[in-house]
């Protein structure tokens, strides 16, 4: 069996026991990447030389007992919006197509300390703006379950790389569903932690008040293990919290007896694919059968989440992306007449259409005369949505629902209608607005054989409860490799 079929924790055990060397594990990842990348295009950068250099250093540290963690020596891929010193970090944008950071993101540093071998940087929607990974300057990433379909986004490269078994796990980032939705589309597991749980230092910002880094892997055990490593208070990020309750692997317990699970009735109305609805509700039945108390309830305000999210995220993005101006780093236009012409041409040529759309939207809602009507109103809506969740968590331990209204769409299908693409984020964005943790895990398939994801949302900083629920559910079904891999003997 190929080493890349193992979970990260399984591979870590083999490395720790000496059965597999770090170089062998690295070689296995690079072999898979070489073989499969022409089909899937999960990576922007693959650091072959650097990977082997890391592998050797890490092997030595494992041999002399310095590194004993569960993921020591296990290869990982990093979404291309996290800075890595000296390695190309593009956000899948032309404007950063030549940018090599001088420092490394804190979450990545935590992985490095734990002995991760960083194989490369994964493809994404440009600046994380999109739900399909089609807005990348580096081409579309394809879904390993069906290459005529999108992998989801914006962490599509990370999710597809895990599903295609190019790496055992990857880091993604989630502003409005960007970890959970591609995990669902690619049949893998992903966690968006509580806002403040993982340091954002070195994560190139999209919507600063919503962005969180999180893991994508084959199962809940891997995700809990990775989250435990990257959850660390960081003084360089003012929004990072200092908490002790980061022993997430302690929540890997197959027991949901008495756990109160609420299902928002408003999530299953118009617009949801019947197959998705059926699979998610069936999953709820499974948990009920295991002893959980499952109830339907009205979450309310669901229809306001999308407009509030797109106003807030775009407003922040319009400001966050101002620094990409051709002055200090990144792409600069070839010819210009003066400073303002340089700014204009650099940004017109450097940003793609979706990024420009959101910069314009964000600039508009912050402009004088519209600030109160849009931005402030969106902030008030955000507060009300948080209150609605707070009320729900007075009754329930976990909120269960779909990740997205549909399974993975065909390539090109949503690009022509951005509004339709935005509406696909309906179940995920409110979780970011409320700053809550959410886990996405496979719960079945639609009639086309595409994976369906289930989302479990927890109260703030209560990742453990959703990890426990997800783990208990996962015990009832085995991990499914993409059918195409099986059919092609890969």
């Amino acid at each position: 069996m190929d080493l890349m079929q193992l979970t990260a924790v399984e591979l870590g055990k083999k490395i720790a026991s000496g059965e597999v060397s770090v170089v062998e594990a690295t070689q296995a990842a690079l072999d898979r990447i070489e073989k499969l990348e022409p089909d899937y295009n999960c990576f922007v950068t693959v650091d072959k030389e650097g990977s082997f250099a890391q592998a050797e250093t890490i092997q030595k540290k494992i041999d002399n007992g310095e590194l004993t963690g569960p993921l020591a020596g296990v290869p990982v891929a990093i979404k291309d919006n996290m800075c890595l010193e000296g390695m190309l970090t593009t956000c899948s944008s032309k404007i950063l197509s030549n940018f090599k950071p001088t420092y490394t993101a804190d979450a990545v540093i935590q992985l490095q300390k734990a002995g991760a071998v960083i194989i490369g940087k994964t493809n994404m929607d440009e600046f994380a703006m999109g739900s399909t990974t089609e807005t990348s300057y580096y081409g579309v990433t394809k879904n390993p379950w069906d290459i005529s379909r999108v992998p989801g986004g914006s962490s599509g490269g990370s999710a597809a790389a895990v599903a295609a078994e190019e790496v055992p796990y990857a880091l993604g980032s989630d502003t409005g569903g960007s970890i959970r939705q591609p995990a669902a589309f690619c049949g893998v597991t992903g966690i968006k932690p509580t806002y403040g749980r993982v340091s954002r230092y070195g994560l190139i910002a999209y919507g600063s008040s919503l962005d969180q880094i999180g893991p994508l892997a084959k199962d809940v055990t891997d995700c809990a293990t990775i989250l435990e490593i990257i959850s660390k208070h960081d003084k360089k990020d003012s929004t990072s919290v200092d908490r002790e309750d980061t022993d997430f692997t302690s929540a890997l317990v197959d027991d949901v007896k008495g756990m109160k699970i609420g299902i928002p009735r408003d999530y299953f109305g118009e617009g949801i694919d019947p197959d998705v609805k059926e699979q998610v509700l069936a999953a709820a039945k499974v948990l009920e059968a295991k002893g959980a108390i499952v109830e339907e309830f009205d979450l309310s305000l669901v229809e306001y989440a999308i407009p509030a999210y797109y106003i807030i995220a775009s407003a922040e993005a319009s400001s966050n992306l101002e620094r990409f101006d051709g002055v200090k780093y990144g792409y600069r236009t070839d010819s210009f007449t003066d400073l303002h012409n340089m700014y204009k041409k650099t940004r017109s040529e450097g940003f793609g259409a979706e990024v420009k759309r959101r910069i314009m939207l964000g600039s508009f809602v912050l402009s004088s005369g519209y600030y109160d009507a849009y931005y402030l109103k969106a902030l008030r809506t955000k507060a009300l949505i948080k209150q609605a969740f707070d009320r729900a968590f007075e009754t329930y331990d976990v909120i269960l629902g779909p990740v997205a209204p549909t399974t993975a769409l065909k390539l090109g299908e949503s690009l022509s209608d951005p509004l339709k693409m935005y509406l696909g984020d309906i179940y995920t964005v409110s979780v970011n607005l409320a700053g809550l943790p959410g886990i996405s895990l496979p719960c079945g398939f639609d009639k086309n054989g595409m994976p369906v994801g289930m989302q479990l949302v927890g109260n703030a900083f209560d990742e453990k409860t959703i990890i426990r629920a997800a783990y208990a559910f996962e015990r009832t079904m085995s991990y499914k490799r993409p059918t195409t891999l099986r059919e092609r003997g890969l």
């Binding site: 996290m82 800075c83 420092y103 919507g207 922040e316 400001s319 101002e322 620094r323 402009s367």
Partner: protein, 476 residues
């Protein structure tokens, strides 16, 4: 009949706070330094970097707010001010619009014996920008981010001033308060204090103020006074001609003595202010405010009262000694080294003020140490040098902060206290000047002055004139 106009002035004063590190990162705030050496990912706006607030900046801002009778905003926030310019690495400045740290303050000024209160609308914290360097050789513009992220406070006054004198008095008051607090050195010429003047004119008694302009690039008190006079005249001339004053930002050229329009209200940028999501709101507790209040150093008025009480020196002297924190510090430090307050005061009031005037310097620029002034005073007191030599040595102390003991030793300036040697010279002088000797003996008391001078000359100044006088009288 010509109309009588009133000038209405409000000020926006930027002050660089004297923290060791920048407002949102750990880089040094030190002035100078090779370009881009005091920088990091945060203050150069690298992707993914995040600001973390320097607590010292908040403390200094609160201290200034308390000293100017402001209300402290106990839940205050930072906002982003968005505008594109290369000296601003993120293309937004982190500032405060919605919840500035201090509000509703006031300071009292005095002009020609008249006391007046000037209201302070608000004080907010923000980051400074970098500096553009235009390379003459290849026409390129370069950016130095050493200053990027240096902490500033902006003190916005109410439009309560009516003349250049009031403006100067207000600025002087602010400068002294902030210097005494140790929150900034407030040097206008180095840019650690910068003032923008908002000015309008209207007829005396008019119900509404006129249209105002904002004047920038004012680098000295003199420039501010000149710019105010000039702008007042310009606006009155426009009104008298039946033209309208345009709301605009103008730049003062002090060498040419006129201002020109930089941008009008129509081209004013929309800064799209919004709360900075990277920074959490600052919670300022009552306890924290009281702690800062408790640590407030002695301000000028308190110092003046204490000097009067402790040192028994004239009010006029106290006024001058406390007119600069630097001067007051020198005064107190020299006394602490054992010098008599009146002697110290004399050196500062007379010789120091004379040399400052001669060199066109401000008291804040005084660079000599209390130690060396104390040594000099000791040399005079012990009659090791005479007054003339002392003044000469002081000029060296003033200019180069030399050690007066060493200097006097090395240059052989010590008064000769050897009576035998002095007697010999005096005898020679008497022998060489029979006419003067005769005049003195004939009752011309003044003639002795000439003989003292001749003796001093022969002694190369190294004698005590009192002793010379006495010996001459003895021998004659």
């Amino acid at each position: 009949m010509s109309k009588v106009y009133e000038t209405v002035i409000g000020l926006e004063v930027h002050v660089e706070l004297a923290t060791k590190t920048k407002i949102f990162c750990g880089c040094s705030t030190e002035f100078g330094g090779a370009p881009n050496t005091h920088t990091c990912p945060v203050c150069t706006g690298m992707p993914g970097s995040l600001p973390v607030l320097n607590k010292g900046v908040v403390e200094k801002a609160i201290a200034v707010g308390l000293a100017t009778n402001c209300t402290i905003t106990q839940n205050c926030k930072f906002d982003r001010k968005n505008y594109f310019y290369p000296d601003n690495p993120q293309n937004y400045q982190i500032s405060q619009l919605y919840y500035p740290i201090c509000r509703n303050g006031k300071v009292e000024i005095e002009v020609n014996g008249q006391k007046k209160e000037i209201g302070i609308h608000e004080i907010h914290m923000e980051e400074d920008a970098g500096k553009l360097v235009h390379d003459a050789c290849d026409g390129a513009s370069l950016v130095d981010y050493n200053r990027s992220g240096v902490p500033l406070i902006e003190i916005v006054s109410e439009p309560d001033m009516r003349s250049a004198e009031e403006v100067i008095a207000y600025l002087d008051k602010l400068r002294l308060i902030i210097q005494y607090l140790g929150a900034s050195d407030c040097k206008l010429n180095e840019g650690s204090m910068r003032a923008d003047v908002n000015l309008s004119v209207c007829e005396v008694g008019a119900k509404e103020f006129g249209t105002r302009t904002e004047m920038k690039n004012l680098n000295s008190f003199k420039a501010i006074a000149r710019a105010i006079e000039n702008e007042r005249e310009r606006q009155i001339a426009l009104i008298e001609d039946g033209k309208e004053v345009v709301q605009e930002t103008r730049r003062w050229d002090d060498t040419k003595g006129y201002s020109y329009a930089m941008r009008s209200k129509e081209d004013a940028q929309d800064y799209r202010y919004f709360p900075d999501p990277d920074l959490v709101s600052i919670q300022i507790s009552d306890a924290w405010i009281e702690e800062i209040r408790g640590k407030q150093p002695e301000l000028r008025a308190e110092k003046q009262a204490r000097y009067k009480e402790e040192y028994d020196i004239p009010e006029y002297d106290i006024d001058i000694l406390t007119s600069s924190k630097k001067m007051a510090d020198l005064f107190e430090e020299t006394i602490a080294l054992g010098a008599a307050p009146k002697k110290v005061s004399n050196w500062l009031m007379v010789e120091t003020m004379r040399l400052l005037k001669e060199h066109e310097m401000e008291a804040d620029e005084l660079a000599f140490s209390a130690t060396n002034l104390a040594k000099l005073i000791q040399l005079v007191e012990s009659k090791a040098i005479n007054g003339t030599v002392a003044k000469e040595v002081f000029e060296k102390v003033f200019a180069e902060d030399i050690d007066p003991e060493k200097y006097v030793e090395e240059h052989g300036l010590k008064t000769v206290n050897d009576e035998g040697a002095l007697r010999k010279v005096v005898e020679e002088v008497i022998a060489a000047n029979p006419q003067s000797v005769a005049d003195y003996r004939n009752g011309k008391e003044k003639a002795i002055g000439f003989l003292v001078g001749q003796t001093m000359k022969a002694m190369k100044g190294k004698a005590d004139p009192g002793s010379v006088n006495q010996m001459l009288k003895e021998l004659l």
